[in-house]
């Protein structure tokens, strides 16, 4: 007996979702491809040529831009992954682990820009750490003249990305751990005389890594092409490739967009190449790992050195985000703050008042875009999951790849093309297209966040409801959605957080005319007004925390008399 035929709207939702997610990516890549080969009708250029690539090759900063893209991406991804793996291997199940886990989970929601600003304010030569240590420990009476932030090797940028991506990979790994039953594997390994880290790496890690492989790829692709973090922590002369693409896109000379398009294709190739490189690395690591496992060495000695190291690294990452936020907070209300005073001489709320007077527009735009993009994504995702449930056909492996695809294509590779395309077909870039561009990134995260709880729902509730005469629509509205209120709101909060944190889609697709908390905060990076940066970054962080608070409070209130639904 085939499952009942789905209503038309439900049958249309999965293809519509794919279109909303992949349509802009495909269109954007197409819109990048043509100008990269000289075809740009809006500027009157219609002949096929390789000149854009020649111009790109003539750019003196190209070699270091390529190097930066590769090193920052690979170093930060490998760094974040190594910290997560060693920390999980050495400490999972301990009290220290639970403490740090509780600390790191909320850090996931701190936006990239705020993390980067906080880190910059913390570790810069005139940053808080240097002030706290000066002059008694360092002897510095004035900030030393060294480039810590914006160093030419991109180390500060890689550090910022590492501390930002670590909580993400940790949470992904924890979700994976729940499915592979690490506790039992470890019990067997320990009984056989394996050390903590050695045993974990040999028995648990392979299963966990298989589950977090796609998130790791996302981190790698993102770190290689990120723009806002690079603007804040990365070198400026020459900048990273992605930053340079954005610069060329904003150039009043339309011909520069051709160079930008060529660079976007190069960026795409770099990310693809790095992913292939990473995959080869995986295969090598698996070979070596298999040999290591077969050797039977218990690896008990690793623990003495690696355990404290892992704890230290994880704690440092967590603390640097937290202290960074604290620094932003202090700067936002700082009066005069001379070097090397550990704290400002007075409190001054002028920056907050200026924000209250002039920030309303950005707050409203941010909220409008986040609400619209999240609502659209949530409706599409719920429709897809419901279709999946009624067809009794779970998401395939290929489907999962499709969901991750928009996160694997570097933003700088297709957003410029998307904007060029919109311009060519005469669509003014306004808030509407920005919302659609946000959906591309919000949708996958909403899907990933809601998918597991949706599928874990006891299907016999649906059988009962049907037996009681409720049609599938009523079952969804009256039983399933209310029972899943908490994960639905959490998914919405994740979606809103993703939208609020977006920099590049807002900037590029909005043609520079749509102002949000994030674009305004990042725009302050070049000015160096630390008080304003503190205010805007904290406002951005608060905007992201608010929906998470709603997702906690609303179900708690709605189900205050329903003990069966207290998580």
């Amino acid at each position: 007996m085939p499952p009942a035929r789905l209503p038309l709207w439900l049958r249309l939702l999965p293809p519509l979702t794919l279109l909303a997610m992949l349509g802009p990516v495909a269109a954007g890549l197409g819109g990048t491809l043509l100008p990269a080969f000289g075809i740009y009708p809006a500027a009157g250029m219609t002949s096929l040529t390789l000149d854009p690539f020649r111009d790109l090759g003539d750019w003196p900063g190209l070699a270091s831009a390529i190097r930066l893209s590769l090193t920052t991406g690979l170093v930060s991804t490998a760094g974040a992954l190594a910290i997560v793996v060693l920390f999980l291997a050495g400490w999972s199940g301990t009290r220290a682990f639970r403490l740090l886990e509780r600390l790191l989970s909320p850090l996931l929601s701190v936006p990239h820009a705020a993390t980067a600003f906080g880190l910059a304010f913390l570790i810069a030569p005139s940053g808080w750490l240097s002030r706290l240590l000066s002059p008694w420990a360092t002897g510095w009476e004035r900030p030393p003249d060294i480039a810590i932030v914006g160093d030419p090797w991109g180390l500060a940028m890689a550090a910022g990305l590492t501390v930002k991506e670590m909580p993400f990979l940790l949470l992904m790994s924890l979700a994976a751990l729940g499915q592979v039953d690490g506790t039992h594997r470890m019990r067997v390994a320990t009984a056989l005389g394996y050390g903590r880290i050695g045993g974990w790496l040999k028995t648990v890690f392979p299963a966990v890594y298989a589950q977090i492989r796609l998130p790791v790829y996302v981190v790698l692709a993102y770190s290689m092409s990120v723009v806002d973090v690079a603007l804040i922590l990365g070198p400026s002369t020459p900048p990273t490739l992605s930053v340079q693409i954005v610069k060329w896109m904003g150039d009043p000379d339309l011909a520069m967009r051709l160079t930008a398009a060529a660079a976007a294709l190069l960026q795409l190739a770099l990310v693809a190449g790095a992913l292939v490189f990473w995959r080869i690395g995986e295969i090598f690591a698996a070979r070596l790992g298999a040999r290591w496992i077969a050797s039977g060495s218990r690896g008990a000695r690793i623990d003495t050195l690696a355990r404290p190291l892992a704890l230290g690294a994880a704690a440092t990452a967590a603390l640097s985000v937290l202290l960074g936020l604290a620094t932003l907070g202090i700067w936002s209300v700082a009066g005069f703050w001379g070097f090397p005073d550990p704290l400002p001489q007075g409190v001054d709320f002028r920056s907050w008042m200026r924000f209250a007077a002039s920030g309303g527009g950005a707050v409203a735009q941010t909220a409008l875009i986040a609400l619209a993009a999240t609502a659209i994504s949530l409706a599409l995702v719920i429709g897809c999951l419901e279709a999946e449930h009624r067809r009794r056909r779970p998401l395939s492996r290929r489907g999962l790849w499709l969901i991750y695809l928009p996160l694997l294509v570097p933003q700088t590779a297709f957003l410029p093309g998307l904007q060029t395309l919109l311009l060519t077909i005469g669509l003014s870039s306004g808030i509407g297209v920005v919302i659609l561009a946000h959906v591309v990134f919000v949708l996958p995260y909403v899907f990933l966040s809601l998918g597991d709880p949706w599928r874990a729902w006891e299907p016999r509730y649906a059988t009962i409801a049907a037996a009681l005469g409720a049609d599938p629509g009523r079952t969804m509205r009256a039983v399933r959605l209310p029972m899943l209120l908490r994960p639905v709101l959490t998914a919405a909060a994740v979606g809103a957080a993703v939208s609020i944190g977006q920099y590049l889609p807002t900037l590029i697709v909005g043609g520079g005319r749509v102002e949000t908390l994030t674009t305004e905060a990042v725009a302050l990076a070049s000015g160096g007004d630390r008080r304003a940066i503190g205010v805007w970054s904290l406002a951005q962080t608060a905007a992201i925390i608010l929906p998470f608070a709603v997702a906690l409070i609303v179900p708690a209130w709605a189900f205050r008399n329903r003990r069966g639904l207290h998580g």
Binding site: A4, R392, A466, A467, A470
Partner: protein, 214 residues
Amino acid sequence: MAETLTLRDVCILKEGMPLIEVDRSIAPGEVLTVMGPSGVGKSTLLAFLTGTLPRGFSGMGRIILGDEDVTDAPPHMRRMGILFQNDLLFPHMSVGGNAAFGLDPGGSRAARRDRVAEALADVGLADFEDRDPATLSGGQKARVSLVRMLLSEPRALLLDEAFSGLDAALRQQIRDLVFGRARARGLPVVMVTHDAEDACAAGGPVYELERYAG
């Protein structure tokens, strides 16, 4: 409105391989007990009757209620009441909300409320309407599920290990209650169980399933 439930040449297949075959009529008020060890797919027979067979399974044969063939009807049009081992009360609704879920729409609010109150009182749960289902005892939950199912006016009753979760004393009490109500309403009952005592108490024909050879 007492009707006979007929399972005509019913066969459940798993990936094309036959799993269960049943060809029986269950008279109003009669209980057909389907017994067998776990893993032979007893519950899939009930899933076929409710129209909710999981993917990978398929069913052949006809399901006839009275003189209506419901084999191809969507699950919510079949009026096959079902009770599971777990009470599966909707946790976000009050006891009253659960009970009223299956009531036919229409009628005044007061009339609907009265029917729920009466039905709850009838199983010894007077004034339980506003309670949170999570705060009830196991026996109370089982009775609320029964009330919820009966208020939807089913044409047949399916029991999927419905008493397995209850301790011995309670088990007999709930079983008597369920069979009593089914008999009073003339509902044909299909009970799936692994417990010989359940079969004994039902008093009807027993159909033993065996693991399909091969």
